[in-house]
Symmetry: C2
Subunit: 237 residues, 2 copies
DNA sequence: CGTCACATTGATGTTTATCAATCTTTGTGG
DNA sequence: CCACAAAGATTGATAAACATCAATGTGACG
């Protein structure tokens, strides 16, 4: 698989600590730790898990940024979910319609479905935790649906930036470095890269953001949130 | 609340039997049964639970059809999920951005969040069951995202009909009575009712469906699935 | 310094929203 | 059962948003 190589380097226990902070007991964190036996690297804009193949693994994002995508009948990509460091991608039974790929180079911890199921069966707290995670994912998808349906191109891009800033834990008023290519923004916000380009220019002209050498460097967050009609509640747990 | 009245008439134990068929033990079904203490009626196209209010209850659809919707800044409705008989609507903490309303008149069983949480805490099978339900809901949302983003108006309407037929358990080649007003189809498929009307006419002209007195009576399912690019896997559990 | 991926711009076409009527069906009180 | 009202469906004209097609520009990197 083109986008997958063996990961090297140490694990990142700090993220597991973050799980404890999210309400998991250290015993359960240990359980998960043992499920995540191996590690791989997802390369940017390369498939990590192809659509139509088995989705029989638990993934945990140690660093970077991953996307879940669906290809339509003509092969155009639509990104339907983003996964940030600390997020899990849970296994599904059967063959997945959607694939996983790196938005940027990402370290991914990997465990088997069998081990994951066993861990869930052995801890009711873990079951409850993944239930709440799935609820949150569902809320995010529905927020995307509402935004993609009713917002214009500017609102959709603004929403992406707002959600990215919040989920990646950036300081809300700080500098901002977008990891996205314009084509990726297009794949997330249901547009063409051509239109993304034009809308970004308009956003810069109207003062919503500033760019240097094509890179985002500064965002007017209050205005951006207004443009996105962005609320934060759906991201809470 | 305008769309809510007290329900009368007997419970529908048949649906609880369906839960057993879905893999729940009768002990767990009993637990849920005790959580769902009361019942209410959701009236068609009337809010059952307003956006911005507490979503602190477990709902179970006994009959009818419910929708979860979000209102944009101008008050336009976008439906982001549908709930069929046998589906649960799980409680959320805090105030919900989305509301619930009846697509048609529906009988809804209601339980408190506290009782639901207690039931989850007391049964690991129940926890696992609701985890899988949430996973399925997430898969449906993501399928909607892909379809709404990449399909044209015809594909989006076709997808709605296909999913409706499957989730409501209709015989795939049988007659078909749509419960949806054109405005509701518009709210689900991100269009205006004016365009839904035109697209339905085109679909009838091209033989995808037939109508009598404006009511859908017959659908060419193979062609409809092709138009929708519809796959069934995402609905499996 | 040539190549490659990505960004940018312009010209044109399509889809669908919007606005505004009119027609049809359904429900309701007399 | 009818008259009327209200909701929904249908149709036409117009405009905005965005896709598509086709070049051209630009920075990174061997």
């Amino acid at each position: 698989m083109a986008g997958v190589t063996a990961a090297k380097g140490p694990k990142t226990p700090g993220l597991y600590k973050a799980l404890e902070a999210a309400g998991l007991r250290s015993r359960d964190v240990e359980l998960l730790h043992r499920v995540l036996r191996s590690a791989r690297i997802a390369q940017p804009r390369r498939p990590f898990r192809e659509p139509g193949t088995s989705a029989d693994e638990l993934l945990f994002v140690r660093s970077g940024l991953l996307s879940r995508y669906v290809l339509d009948s003509v092969g155009r990509m639509q990104i339907v979910a983003l996964y940030f460091p600390g997020d899990f991608i849970v296994p599904l039974s059967g063959l997945a319609r959607s694939g996983i790929e790196g938005v940027v180079r990402s370290e991914v911890a990997v465990g088997s479905r069998a081990d994951f199921d066993a861990a869930l069966d052995s801890s009711i707290d873990l079951s409850g935790y993944f239930f709440r995670l799935a609820q949150r994912s569902e809320a995010i998808s529905q927020e995307w649906l509402a935004n993609r349906a009713k917002g214009d191109a500017t609102a959709r891009i603004a929403h992406l930036f707002c959600e990215f800033a919040l989920r990646s834990g950036l300081p809300v008023d700080g500098a901002f470095a977008s990891p996205f290519k314009q084509q990726q923004i297009a794949d997330i916000t249901c547009q063409t890269s051509v239109n993304v380009n034009r809308v970004l220019r308009e956003m810069e002209q109207s003062g919503l953001l500033r760019r240097e050498n094509g890179r985002l460097v500064r965002i007017d967050w209050p205005e951006m949130r207004r443009a996105a009609n962005f609320r934060t509640e759906y991201l809470q747990m």
